[in-house]
Assembly symmetry: C2
Homo-oligomer: 276 residues x 2
């Protein structure tokens, strides 16, 4: 299996494809899949070497389904990237802003362009399963007076015309993606660790877990919680911290954390992406 095969969720031209090419190079073999579960499966079964999973957006929040899939599969985070999300209004010949009646896109993208729809109340928002998929549909069916919201790459892949760029309400709109592999690999210069753990059900349990890091001056960059299925009102925690599993201090912190948790897994150690 070639090492440049990468599964993404969504159609060709999705933001995931752009992120994959920035991480793996322009010649990466991108394999579009229908669902997040399918991209994890494709790496677990060996069909693809990597998959690229969006994990959080700075406006919409975490992609909780992918947090759950990280624990359901035995993959390793080997890299991350923060992609600037810029939305474009894309149409095909015969449609202009003047005769526009419907705009198709993923519900999150539609929600991130709320001000455009407030200024044009006669234009209907139509939820679609994928941003790039909505451009593909327009290219095939050519409905009259319809446009899509998607990436610049999606416009180029399907031959659409950008009627208006930067449709998003907030310019500070980034999505963080994780590159996952079945093979554990720690790149030189890795300075970030992602872990998942479950606390013991005792008072102050989470405080003790935070202390493991704070008492060693290790900085946490993200914390997330998800329900522990079958154990109502108990939770898994996901934490990202600055450091490398090859540093003694971080290894001590992980050993200490194992003492105060009922479950602990290192999800990966990789180079921190630029934070714009």
């Amino acid at each position: 299996m070639p090492k440049d095969t990468v599964a993404i969720q969504g159609e060709r031209g999705a933001f995931s494809e752009e992120a994959a090419r920035q991480l793996l190079g322009r010649s990466a073999q991108v394999r579009p899949k229908e669902s997040f579960g399918a991209i994890f499966d494709s790496v677990s079964t060996g069909e693809c070497y990597y998959c690229l999973a969006p994990i959080e957006n700075t406006l919409a929040g975490s992609v909780y389904e992918n947090y759950d899939l990280l624990l359901e599969h035995q993959l390793h985070i080997v890299a991350e990237i923060n992609l600037r999300i810029a939305h474009n209004l894309i149409a095909f010949p015969g449609t202009s802003i003047g005769n526009l009646r419907q705009v198709y896109s993923h519900p999150v993208a539609l929600a991130q362009c709320g001000e455009f729809f407030e200024r044009h109340p006669r234009i209907e928002k139509v939820p679609y399963y994928d941003t790039a998929g909505s451009v593909k549909m327009l290219a095939e069916k050519r409905p009259r007076g319809a446009a899509a919201i998607a990436s610049r790459v999606a416009a180029s892949v399907y031959g659409g015309r950008i009627l208006k760029s930067h449709l998003e309400d907030h310019r500070k709109n980034y999505t963080r993606f994780l590159l996952l592999s079945r093979t554990r690999k720690i790149a030189a210069g890795s300075n970030k660790v992602s872990i998942a753990f479950a606390t013991r059900n005792v008072p102050g349990a989470l405080f003790k877990c935070m202390g493991v890091f704070a008492l060693r001056d290790i900085n946490l960059t993200k914390m997330e919680s998800r329900p522990l299925r079958g154990h109502p009102w108990e939770y898994f925690f996901y934490v990202d911290f600055t450091g490398s599993v090859r540093e003694r201090k971080c290894q001590n912190a992980l050993d200490h954390l194992a003492e105060v948790t009922s479950f602990l897994r290192v999800l990966g150690c990789y180079k921190s992406a630029t934070r714009h």
Copy 2:
């Protein structure tokens, strides 16, 4: 405005309606709305006295949209309830399990009945906007070979027949709902507090916030984070803890928390619901 008006998201017969009646009594005037935003708006504008918002499910996790709406509106949490979620397969005359081809429901409900669909691979799952709404649609349109997954109350409201009860994979399936009002009211016996805060951007910030509670032996029951919009890679935190704002210890903890945070809001103080 009568004090027994309560806005819920979804159609009549939704799990929210059952929760509302358990909290406010059988004669409560339930006002169905299309979206979570609409139920918060209806209380903010004074149209309804209360709204009831699902905030977490023990299998699917938090309802993040409602966490965001808590901060966007100035409402107060005055009560909570944990409702056992039991899914029923509901159909109308002419449809039995033998001739069933399609099952309509909300995607979360379909996902929670995965084992039924694995045992019956020829039955198609059809995502619908609402559990009770799918029963209402069947009652009106009577498509052949179609059923819905919804509550027992939904079957009764629309005159459907329960073909099979307890379709859910996990019996330990509970949804926690919050009752919200424009009027701040702390009921006698209140023993739980919900707050939201933003940490200062310094190392160990979250550890200091946790310490405020741990050092006073105050137990945290839930912690959630959401992105701070316009500030990429910074987060709001939501915490529930055991105690009352009328106790000196908790008041001291809140004063202490104000010292180490850049934003702090008490969302409500109310009686903790039974945890089954």
